[in-house]
């Protein structure tokens, strides 16, 4: 069987297209690279969904935590505390069993017990909490002069936030936010190890890497392949976020621009 056939058979296996049975023995390098790569689709899906949706909730949480209205502030503080203070792994388990018991209440909750929705929901809340804390820190360090200047120009309320405060907040938060995005993608590997079933063996990259390592008792092939894929993904995230960073900083003179510097894992789970 040539490598092209393997790619045709297993390239989209993780989303249920192609050969149904996984290879059982005589694993070739090509099979391992293809299947693990196919699993990456899930990691990218979870990461992107959580990142895009989490961004908006994070902004809301940051504003809530900085708000003068006490109930709103308390609510935001608690959401951030609960999701940052407990292990994501336990959150996954808890959410999965919660969804399972909700399922018996009403069939409307059915899709929540499958990974594509349930795990994405947990990741969304989790990344929103971490990002909310970053945005809150950045919100507090928006220069006073910027806000005063906005007042002087007659900005107020939402336009002032939208045009002045928000872009500055994002600019200040961006390096830390990049880090958070990287670790969010790493965290997606936990999904299929934490209760959520890999239906018909449609799992993520780590699920397949673990499958091969279990079958061959040889961890030295599948895990380096997985590592390679993740380093590529990390480079892509850094690249895209770097472009956005450039755009956020475009109005500043060159020497004042914030350099994208990877901080020593300041935000991990």
């Amino acid at each position: 069987m040539s490598c092209w056939e393997t790619i045709a058979d297993y390239g989209l296996r993780s989303i249920g297209i192609g050969e149904r049975l996984l290879p059982r023995d005589n694993f070739t390098l090509c099979q391992q690279v293809t299947l693990i790569g196919s699993g990456m689709l899930w990691n990218i899906y979870f990461g992107l969904v959580a990142l895009v949706t989490g961004f908006f909730l994070a902004t809301a949480l940051a504003l809530g935590k900085a708000s003068k209205i006490t109930p709103l502030r308390k609510l935001a503080e608690w959401v951030i505390f609960v999701f940052r203070g407990s292990p994501l792994f336990i959150q996954f388990f808890f959410a999965y069993f919660l969804f399972l018991s909700l399922k018996s209440v009403s069939s409307a909750f059915d899709p929540l017990t499958s990974a594509w929705l349930g795990a994405a929901l947990v990741l969304f809340l989790n990344t929103a909490a971490y990002t909310g804390e970053i945005f809150y820190g950045a919100l507090l360090s928006v220069p006073k002069g910027d806000v005063e200047a906005a007042d002087a120009y007659g900005f107020s309320g939402f336009p002032r936030f939208r045009r002045i405060i928000w872009p500055t907040m994002l600019r200040l938060a961006w390096p830390a936010y990049t880090n958070e995005a990287i670790f969010l993608f790493h965290a997606t590997t936990l999904v299929f190890f934490s209760g959520f079933p890999a239906w018909q063996q449609r799992g993520d990259a780590l699920y397949y890497a673990n499958y091969f390592a279990d079958k061959t008792f040889n961890p030295f092939v599948p895990y380096p392949i997985l590592a390679g894929y993740f380093i590529l993904l990390t480079l892509c995230v850094v690249g895209v976020f770097g472009l956005i960073n450039k755009r956020l900083n475009r109005h500043l003179p060159k020497e004042r621009r914030q350099k994208m510097r990877m901080r020593p894992r300041l935000l991990m789970r």
């Binding site: 505390f81 203070g85 407990s86 069993f97 790493h186 020593p264 300041l266 789970r269």
Partner: protein
């Protein structure tokens, strides 16, 4: 456990709960909390030592050693840590068995990797197939500790390497002007001063380490996650005196609360240590403390 627990069917409410929560199996989940604390107590210093070694190696003026240190720091960034956990547990196990195999059975002629199997001679098996159950468990736990230490050692190396570079250069130059050797400068000037720069990173690392402890479950150790799944599952009256439906969601809620409390307490304690360490330092924090008092 209690005197009123002889007939569980006759009691209900709090009395029932008090009996239910003290059954033999529930005592194992409390013991496994101890396992988690033990893991933290061993891993934290060992990982710190690994990190210190890594940071020292990365600072070395001997290129191969410094490359080694930098590679160690870089390797766990960019790849999910859970992948490392799964990898190291098998890799270390096979490495130890292979080493023992080389020593104990020098005239074994079959290949070690036979297709999908990893075969060493019976004397090299770790632990020996005749060993007691507790030896197996201890071996599994030690592998987990070693794995955690290697991964978190790399994170700690990263933090310490940054902290060593954050110490003002003038301090080191002064030491040199006083005629200290490189070694003396390192131990007497650099190391005592670097902790205040390292502490924010290290306390963050401690939080991450706490939050990584449930991953023990993936390494095959019977930890709290294992027991929560085990005990929470629905039980029929046939197998137990305490039948109940699926309670796993409550067990994991309890774990969630446990971890929240644990991280919160750590946060408060670390804040105090930071305040103590900042005292009298020539940093913004130290200056603010001086002005406040």
């Amino acid at each position: 456990m209690f005197s009123w627990c002889t007939d569980p069917n006759a009691i209900d409410g709090l009395a029932w709960l008090s009996c239910y929560l003290t059954t033999g199996k529930h005592l194992s989940i409390y013991v496994s909390v101890g396992t988690v604390l033990l893991l933290l107590a061993i891993t934290a210093p060992v990982a710190l030592a690994f990190g210190f070694g890594g940071a020292m190696a990365a600072r070395s003026h001997f290129p191969p050693l410094s490359w080694l240190g930098k590679a160690y720091i870089a390797i766990v960034r960019g790849v999910p840590d859970i992948a490392f956990f799964l990898f190291f547990v098998i890799a270390l196990d096979q490495f130890f068995e292979w080493m023992r195999h080389q020593v104990k059975c020098p005239d074994w002629d079959q290949p070690i990797r036979q297709g999908n199997d990893f075969v060493v001679c019976p004397e090299a098996k770790l632990p020996l197939s005749t060993a007691a159950q507790w030896v197996h468990e201890t071996y599994g736990f030690s592998l987990a500790v070693l794995t955690f230490s290697i991964v978190f050692g790399a994170f700690a190396a990263n933090v310490l390497f940054g902290a060593m570079r954050a110490v003002p250069h003038a301090q080191l130059e002064t030491a040199e002007a006083y005629g200290m050797t490189r070694r003396q400068t390192f131990w007497r000037i650099l190391v005592p001063q670097m902790w205040v720069y390292a502490l924010p990173g290290l306390s963050n690392l401690w939080m991450v380490l706490i939050k990584a402890t449930p991953l023990l479950f993936l390494l095959g150790v019977e930890d709290i996650v294992y027991w929560a799944r085990e005990l929470g599952g629905s039980k029929t009256a046939k197998f137990t005196d305490y039948p109940h439906p699926d309670w796993r969601v409550w067990y994991f809620l309890a774990l969630l609360v446990f971890y929240l409390a644990f991280t919160r307490v750590s946060e408060i304690v670390l804040d105090r240590i930071m305040r103590r360490l900042t005292h009298g330092q020539a940093t913004m924090g130290g200056e603010a403390q001086r002005k406040a008092s």
